[in-house]
Amino acid sequence: MEERVKDIDEKIEEQKDGKPPKPSKDPKKKWDARAVLDKFGALFGLIGLSVILTILAPSFITIDNLMNVARQASINALLSLGMLLPIITAGIDLSVGSILALSIVLGGIVTVSWGMSPVVGLIVLLLAGAVAGLINGLLLTKLRLPHPFISTLGTMNVYRGLALIVTGASPIFGFPLLINYVGQESINIVPVSFILVIIVAVLMHIFLNRTATGRYIYAIGGNKEAARLSGIPVDRVLIIVYTVSGFMAALGGLVLIGRTNSASPIAGLTYELDAIAAVIIGGASFFGGVGTVVGTLIGALIIAVLRNGLNLIGTSSDLQTVVIGIVIILAVYVDVLRRKGTKK
């Protein structure tokens, strides 16, 4: 039977009459403008924003300041790249800020309080993030909770509480260089944290686009039932998604330690909201199935550029909050319009 089945495939290939398949022109040429906007809309936004800020505050465009932006964007970029995965599956991870805090205080306890090797501390830190994410995934899939909003809202509180309990609510100072390195140092003028972001982004892009699991993530977000009926192990993929998201939060925490030379149990408060904002500004959809690494990076940069630029202009931090809120709404509104446009 196996051979016979192969036959079916071969016969179908033979039907081609020997003609090589010729790719046709896209029949929807008219819509190319929109397709471009779809794909690079966030990039145009970033460029436009930079131009405006340069006019208002010329010091924005200096190398020093741009490196500053890169450094400021790093933590949110790492969390956002993690957040991208749940959002593509039409889910969400509200616990990343708490995971960040829990993983850095655990890393701090191991290295500072117990005086163990920084390598062990680093492993504990990253592993804590991954395990916390794994638990999120297990809660979602094994308890059949209706939506990850609920499971991660719960663990957001649990992880934050644990971080406060294990530290007695006080921050940990004095990390060894190995752990501080990523957040603190630069290579020439480029912050190591930003280099880490680029490396992680490249890996994430390959993961999402060139591995079966990555494909499955898009498939689940696009149509969960069709995914299941196509033989995709939906639960297993979702568990991986939340584990990666947790791991990325820990990675963001590692950068934060370097920048503040401390690990605070109240670190990362509301970071999940910035991460969600970056992913959505970057063109992902809450409806699932859509979202890219490049878009997410741009989304994180837009937020960082906004904060930095508004600072340079001398805008109060209160007003900054208002502006960022408006940008989020605008970005999601664009998403709504796009959805409307593609629906028949």
């Binding site: 039977m1 192969k6 079966a212 898009y218 149509n223 039932e225 995914a227 995709i232 859509v290």
Partner: protein, 494 residues
């Protein structure tokens, strides 16, 4: 005449689904619409209720022209519809459901609700139906039969003169059905008119006054129930000659492909046994809701089952989830193409390769070139148009979307193909292409099962036909000894 439709036509993207329908419903009668699935009954109802707008023709209500542009227009005129899926809010009480949207107030629009009056009226309405249901009972605590009566009470509270019922008894038990029929008879005596859709001919015989028979979107005839036998009804309903819309090929039975033994979907259902062979097409006929899709989903392990054994090419296989079903070589082309088959946001190549990504891997990563090559091959051989593998699935026509789904399953190298309503919603030309593909599969030794509610399709394409009725196989025919009457009789449990 209370309601008249004159020369009403409707088409969807070029496909005409209703041809010049003339329908007259007399006040105080139970007027039955009868026809196969897809004959146009639902379309007529949807035009009357404002879900669709007619292309041409007129609707007269009480001799006045009636324009129904939205559901509210129909309700205001006095036309209420009770769908198979009930429109009740389970968490609210009987009374609250009856008056939902037209609550009684104590005074002006902004006053508080007058619960006492509503309770009183609800009680009266229910007693008009011969019921003494407590108005404060939550709807979720009632059985389906009594929930339906609440819907009827709601219709009466809106002063409906015509109540349209779409297969009201399909989900009712025997005693619930009896109660509903009694209620309909009772209301008819009170002067309420009914348009009644049902496949159950004995039931029609009992409560119907006249029957309009539809076929392929056109009216065949309107007859008096008392002058028409069940046999005549069936003949009028299916009486159509098959032409060569079906490119059936001659082939002979090969080896056993799929054998299903002692298969029970749940503890109450009856055991199902059947065998499908290579070299022939096995058709599953029956009315909507007969349990064919449920059976196929059970075989594919899309839903869990109670018990039963599956043999693939003679070997017993354990299949616990779709992934294992695919590994054992089963392909399941679902009836709901968009909901269960396609990833609409994704390009063709994604849809095509997703069930067997292993095949396009190189060095552990997915190879874009391999993906392109295999996808182009299928686009070409299945004549998918436009032939651009980067096009999103949502931008294809129904027929081409179906081909993409079939391509996905061909790529899994399945040997048992289950097609559930393979040509639903696709045009005639694309249908023939799908049939040709199915033929090709048979020729190459696959075992093919087609579930279809379209009798001509079943008779035109299959070699053997199993008929299901209420979860049970009630007929097993070679195509040569089958005709529409015989199948319809088995499908209606007759």
């Amino acid at each position: 005449m209370l309601l008249e439709m004159k020369n009403v036509s409707k088409s969807f993207s070029g496909v005409q689904v209703l041809h010049d329908i003339n329908l007259g419903v007399k006040e105080g009668e139970v007027h039955v619409l009868l026809g196969e699935n897809g004959a146009g009954k639902s379309t007529i109802i949807k035009i009357l209720t404002g879900a669709y707008t007619k292309d041409t023709g007129d609707v007269y209500w009480d001799k006045q022209v009636l324009e129904v542009n939205e559901p509210k227009d129909a309700i205001d005129a006095g036309i209420a519809t009770i769908y198979q899926e009930l429109n009740l809010i389970p968490e609210l009480s009987v009374m609250e459901n009856i008056f939902l949207g037209h609550e009684q107030k104590k005074g002006s629009k902004f006053s508080l609700l007058d619960r006492a009056t509503m309770r009183e009226k609800a009680k009266k309405l229910m007693s008009r139906l011969g019921q003494n249901t407590d108005p404060d009972e939550l709807v979720q605590n009632l059985g389906v039969g009594r929930q339906q009566l609440v819907e009827i009470a709601k219709a009466l509270s809106l002063n409906a003169r015509l109540i349209i019922m779409d297969e009201p008894t399909s989900s009712l038990s025997g005693s619930e059905t009896e109660q509903l029929l009694l209620t309909v008879e009772r209301l008819r005596e009170q002067g309420i008119t009914f348009i009644y859709i049902s496949h159950r001919l004995e039931e029609i015989k009992r409560i119907g006054d006249s029957i309009t028979i539809l076929r392929d979107g056109a009216k065949v005839d309107t007859v008096k129930v008392e002058n028409t036998s069940v046999d005549e009804m069936i003949a009028l309903m299916v009486g159509r000659t098959l032409d060569n819309k079906f490119p059936k090929m001659e082939s002979s039975r090969g080896e056993e492909g799929l054998r299903v033994e002692n298969f029970k979907l749940n503890s109450d259902s009856k055991e199902i046994n059947f065998t499908a062979y290579t070299g022939e097409i096995l058709g599953f006929s029956g009315l909507v809701g007969a349990g064919r899709t449920e059976l196929m989903r059970g075989i594919f392990a899309a839903d869990s089952i109670e018990s039963g054994d599956i043999y693939i090419f003679g070997k017993k296989k354990k299949i616990a989830n779709p992934k294992q079903a695919i590994r054992e070589g089963i392909a399941f082309i679902t009836e709901d193409r968009k909901g269960e088959g396609l990833f609409l946001d994704q390009p063709l190549h994604f849809n095509k390769t997703i069930a067997k990504l292993k095949e396009i891997k190189r060095n552990g990563l997915l190879s874009i070139r391999k993906q392109k090559n295999v996808s182009n091959t299928y686009v070409e051989s299945l004549k998918i148009k436009p032939n651009n593998i980067n096009l999103l699935a949502q931008n294809l026509s129904g027929g081409n979307q179906q081909k993409v789904v079939i391509a996905k399953w061909l790529f899994t190298q399945a040997k048992v193909f289950i097609f559930d309503e393979p040509t639903r919603g696709i045009d005639v030309g694309a249908k023939v292409e799908v049939y040709n593909l199915i033929n090709e599969l048979v020729k190459l030794g696959a075992c093919v099962i087609i579930v279809s509610s379209e009798l001509p399709e079943i008779l035109g394409m299959c070699d053997r036909i199993l008929v299901m009725h209420e979860g049970e196989i009630t007929g097993d025919f070679k195509v040569k000894e089958a005709n529409q009457e015989i199948i319809m009789r088995a499908a209606t449990g007759g």
